[in-house]
Amino acid sequence: MEEFLAEHQLYIVLGIVLLIWGGIVLYLLRLDKKLAELEKLIKKG
């Protein structure tokens, strides 16, 4: 794995882009959940 990455450096860039994208997606999913809970609360009054 390490050797492969050292030889194919473009995949390190891919890994970094995926990490950033994954972090943003996780954040959005959490926000989505929070909004859904709020909607439920507001519906109940």
Binding site: L5, A6, Q9, L10, I12, V13, L14, G15, I16, V17, L19, I20, G23, I24, Y27, L31, K34, L35, L38, L41, I42, G45
Partner: protein, 222 residues
């Protein structure tokens, strides 16, 4: 906000495509070839992704500090949740910058972590804001929940492994001025900074709206 939203999506998509897709060559010819820097090679492309996350983190903490100070003066709860929303996003991008930096470090410096000055300062930053959120969640009352804010600088004070640090034998001054970065790379780098900034504004807007709803709802309850 429409421009911010679609602007960020388009810019970041463009930067991903260009940042990964544009070939590298030792003697770049024309706009659509990046220079190949020995020792950095394809990893130089990380500049388009890793650096803007750190930039966004700093920006977010500054915005958080601004609204934190404003809250202390106005005691307007709106300022408080603007501050905490920005700080939360700052923490997100700070973690992303740390993790992506560690991955890059592994293949440029040999290990994931080696206490480079900037790694040390980002670690302290994570601790500060980790403490900030631990403290906040421990205090129930809205008013007592004072806004803690920290002003910080991540200067190029000390020699370190980051290129462009003071006393860096390879480069004089900041990386962006050292001529190592070609004009066309700089264009995409700035577009990336802009894209990430717009993304931050969009996320902050979403986050503030959620906080406002939450606050209004809890007020109706009492």
């Amino acid at each position: 906000m429409t421009y911010v939203k679609y602007g960020s999506i388009i810019l970041i998509t463009l930067v991903i495509v260009a940042g990964i897709g544009i070939p590298m060559s030792l003697e770049p010819a024309g706009f659509f070839e990046f220079p190949l820097i020995p020792g950095l090679e394809d990893k130089a492309r990380n500049i388009f992704f890793h650096v803007p996350t750190a930039w966004t983190s700093v920006l977010a903490f500054l915005v958080g500090t601004f609204f934190g100070i404003r809250y202390l003066r106005t005691k307007n709860i709106e300022d408080d949740y603007k501050s905490v929303s920005a700080a939360g996003l700052g923490l997100l991008f700070c973690i992303l910058a740390t993790v992506t930096g560690a991955l890059w470090a592994k293949f440029n410096w040999g290990t994931f972590w080696n206490w480079d000055p900037r790694q040390t300062s980002i670690f302290i930053l994570l601790l500060i804001y980790g403490a900030y959120f631990a403290l906040r969640s421990a205090i129930e009352s809205d008013e007592k929940r004072a806004s803690l804010s920290a002003v910080f600088v991540m200067p190029r004070m000390t020699a370190g492994l980051h290129p462009g640090a003071r006393d860096d034998p390879s480069g004089k001054g900041p990386l962006m001025q050292s001529g190592m970065i070609a004009g066309n790379m700089r264009v995409f780098f700035y577009l990336s900074l802009l894209g990430f900034t717009l993304l931050f504004i969009w996320l902050l807007n979403l986050r503030i709206r959620a906080a406002r709803l939450e606050h209004e709802h809890s007020r109706q309850q009492h």
